[in-house]
Symmetry: C2
Subunit: 194 residues, 2 copies
């Protein structure tokens, strides 16, 4: 299981990881199985762990006054999930995180993350690159949301992240795009006839 995180870090930095370092990493990450529909984080709790998804599919979402879910983040293999705001600030989260498929994750607490950042340069670099990529991805998503129509946003997602469309049910994709399930259904129908 821990092998996954090793490969992941190696994919971000081309310098080697020593056995000692690998040991530290192995101690820092706690493996956990999360069954479909089980929560990793519930609204109101402080997000104590970031989770590295080894296998499975998860989502981060809020629920509004009307009981409607708004998905702001999907996670599949080799992605991280968790509420960064709550994790860093130690404030109660406004979000829920749960599993959409049975998932295997590696949990990392804030303290362990500090530890890794201090002791393992390759890890520091990995996280800094990750932050940058996240920033860029967020920027793209914001741009899409203020400048594209629902239809264009769907096409954009289909092109950029086709795997998400296969992995998550359509109503969740609609929520992620910020449109109603009915609208997404109609958009897809229209897209087929091309």
């Amino acid at each position: 299981m821990h092998e996954a995180i090793r490969k992941y870090i190696l994919s971000y930095t081309n310098e080697a990881i020593s056995d000692e370092e690998y040991q530290i990493i192995q101690d820092a990450f706690v493996p956990k199985k999360i069954r479909k529909r089980q929560y990793l984080l519930q609204e109101g709790d402080v997000c104590k762990h970031l989770a590295f998804i080894v296998h499975g599919a998860m989502r981060q979402y809020s629920v509004d006054d009307k009981g409607i879910e708004h998905i702001i983040h999907f996670g599949i293999e080799n992605w991280w999930i968790g509420d960064r705001e709550s994790f860093i600030m130690l404030t109660p989260s406004k979000y829920n995180v749960d599993a959409v498929e049975d998932s295997d994750v590696l949990l990392l607490t804030h303290e362990k993350m500090q530890l890794l950042s201090d002791k393992i340069p390759a890890f520091t670099r990995t996280f800094s690159v990750l932050d940058q990529r996240n920033f860029i991805a967020s920027q793209k998503r914001i741009h899409a949301s203020i400048s594209l129509t629902a239809e264009e946003r769907y096409a954009d997602l289909a092109e950029r992240n086709p795997s998400l469309l296969q992995r998550f049910p359509q109503n969740m994709v609609a929520s992620y795009l910020g449109i109603s399930p009915e609208t997404l259904s109609r958009i897809r129908k229209k897209a087929l006839s091309r």
Copy 2:
């Protein structure tokens, strides 16, 4: 002018900066004046500098096929501006960055940034905190855009960032919120009568 960046870094890390370090920092940042309407970055160019705004107001935006501008980022004193994607990936930018008021900025190239990251721990930490904050801010903006109405998004911005409303003309605020200037005008009128 460089004093501003020193104060800025100190506000992010409570450890001191030595005179040598300060010298390195001073060498890394190139001051520049940018007049209102002048470009810092034009679509198609690679973003060679991130700019730290010492004084002034700037914006980052794209222009669509219909010639409509979509503002994805505002910058005022003590904020950074530039297209991170282009800056990091060295790809041509899809965005323009220009000054909304006469501005004083400090320019930082990618190489200088690497240099500072390597040599000055306080700087590394500053940037890592900054990335985290950016990530959190982006997350909030995405959440707002998929779950709130135009009216709620305006109220949200007015509460979170009132200074932007005073600094930037209304049509730009509308663009930033992803709504038409007319709609924003109506929303404000409605908000007044409360």
